[in-house]
Every structure is written in C-alpha cells, then in structure tokens.
C-alpha cells in the first residue's frame, strides 16, 4: 500500500484526537466572538471567517491527510479555493461597477430602463 502511511499510522489517533479538541475549542471561540461587538460590523465577519478557515485547514491537513499525502492532492484542493476566489472577485467587480441595477424581468433595453428609473 502507500509507503507514506507507515510512519504516521501508529501515532495517527493521537493527532486526530488533538485536532478534534482544537476544532471544538475553535467552535466555542467562534460562538463567543459572535456575541462581542468589535466596532464595525465587517470585522465580526472577518473574524468568524478567519476562525472558520483555521478550522477548515485543520480538517484538510489532518483529517483529510493532506499533511502526509503527495502534494498533487493539496494542489488540487487549493486550486478549488483559488477558482472560487476568482468567482467571488469577478462578481463583486461586476456589481460594484454598475451605476444602476436593472431587474432581469425588464422588457426594455437597459439604457431605457435606467432612464425610466430616474
């Protein structure tokens, strides 16, 4: 079978249990942090997503074995998130650079609909 399993297999349960403990602690922190107001509302989202990303990384590296696998698996996983970031970026650019949003159900060309809105 895969040769890279042998050296890690015996100590694996300890690593898994430690990771589970860390994940549970991070969940508690997430819930607690949600109750604290840090100033602007966007900071709470950043903190929540930051903690979620740490949790997701722990799951990916330890539970999904990316730590000990061949790099190609990690490359494929990271590329998924990279393309997702691309999707988000382009959608935000699209929406934020429109002067007016016209519903898709509008039956006239966009310029006319925007003029009618004014």
């Amino acid at each position: 079978m895969s040769h890279n399993e042998n050296s890690h297999t015996a100590s694996a349960p300890k690593a898994y249990a430690a990771t589970l403990a860390a994940l549970l602690v991070l969940t508690a922190i997430t819930v607690a942090a949600a109750g604290i107001h840090f100033g602007s509302s966007s900071i709470n989202v950043v903190i929540a997503l930051g903690i979620a990303t740490v949790k997701a990384s722990l799951v990916a590296l330890v539970f999904m074995h990316l730590r000990h696998d061949k790099p190609v698996n990690a490359i494929i996983a990271v590329s998924g998130f990279l393309f997702l970031a691309l999707l988000l970026a382009y959608c935000i650019i699209d929406i934020d650079t429109r002067k007016q949003l016209v519903p898709y159900t509008a039956k006239v060309p966009v310029k006319a609909a925007v003029a009618a809105k004014k």
Partner: protein, 220 residues
Amino acid sequence: MSTSAAHLEHAHDPALQHHFHTKEQQFDTSKIGMWLFLTTEILLFGGLFVGFALMQQKYPDAFLAAHHHLDRTLGALNTVVLLVSSFTMVMAVWAAQTNRKKLLIALLIATMACAFIFLGVKYFEYSHKFHEGLLPGKFYSHEGDTVPNQFVFFSFYFMMTGLHGFHILGGIVAISWLLVRAIRGDFGSGYYTPVDLVGLYWHLVDMIWIYLFPLLYLIQ
C-alpha cells in the same frame, strides 16, 4: 511495460486492477480522482456562498433581522455533531488501515449515528420555520416583520442547508455501503481505498458546514 516477473506479482493480488502498475499507483490515482470531485463540490457550494455574500451586501438589514429566527444553540450543536463525526470517520479509516475490523464497523456506525442526529436537528429546525411561515422566496408568509425583504435570507438558508442536507444523506448512503463491505471483510491494510475516499467526502461535507454555521447563524 511491466516485466514478466512484475506481471506474476500483479497476478497474485486481487485488489490490483490490471491497468495499474502498482497498488500504490492505484491508490494515488483514486485519491486524485476523489480530490477532483471534491473541488467541483467546493465550486458548487461556492457559487451559493458568493450569491449569499452579494445579497447580504445588498440587503444587510434584512439579513441581520432574518437570522435572529435561527437558533444558535442548535447550530452550534450541529457543528459539534459533525466535527465528532469527522473524527469517527477518520478513525474508521485508521481502523481499516490497521486491520481492526470490529472497531471499523463500530466507527462507521458512530459516524452514521452522528449524521442522523444532524438531520434530526435540521428537521426540528425546518419544521419550526415552516410553522412560523419563514419560507424561501415567494412562499415567505411570516407576519409582523418590521424589516422588509427577509425572504431573501430564507431563500439562501433553505437552499444552502438543504443542498448540504442532501449531501449528508448521500454520505449516509455511502457509509452504509462501506458498512456492508466492512462486515463482509473487504477492508484491511492491503486495501482500504473506499473507506479513505468516503472519508474525504465526509470531511468536505463537514468543512462546508464549518463555513455555513458562522455565515448563517452568527451574523452581526
């Protein structure tokens, strides 16, 4: 091409398929295939997350008001349940790797039990929402809202948790199949690929909930 000696060695191992040179190559290939599928899942849910982000930008007050109808305790409970299920699943892979058949069977059952608890909590949450009229899109019929457009939040809530719930259901089916094979004695240190791959799928489903929970339940 393989030498005649290597070909003889291949002929002895029933788990090695003929189009692979070695068991290691076969295992690595299976894993790559699974990771490619998981990447498509990341983009599937990712599209919904992007939609959620954009709509929250457009209706921040509605999202803030709407999410108060969600029970954080139940959401946190479900998070804990799925994290524990990820642990039991990865331990099941370890059990298969180390020829611990009874432990493997027990852990697969434990993972399924956690999955059923998760679905049970979601069923409880959903029925409470149906009762209050907090439904997606045009079905929204909740009375007494001071903030308009809350139906948008619930469209995303039901779509994202619903799709996630279907994935949990699919995982239950896959783990049941693993259970049948494990009882049959199919898995051991020489061959545990299906357990590993279903484990990867299960961890991804857990990861998606790790992101869903703060975004849906813990908005500020």
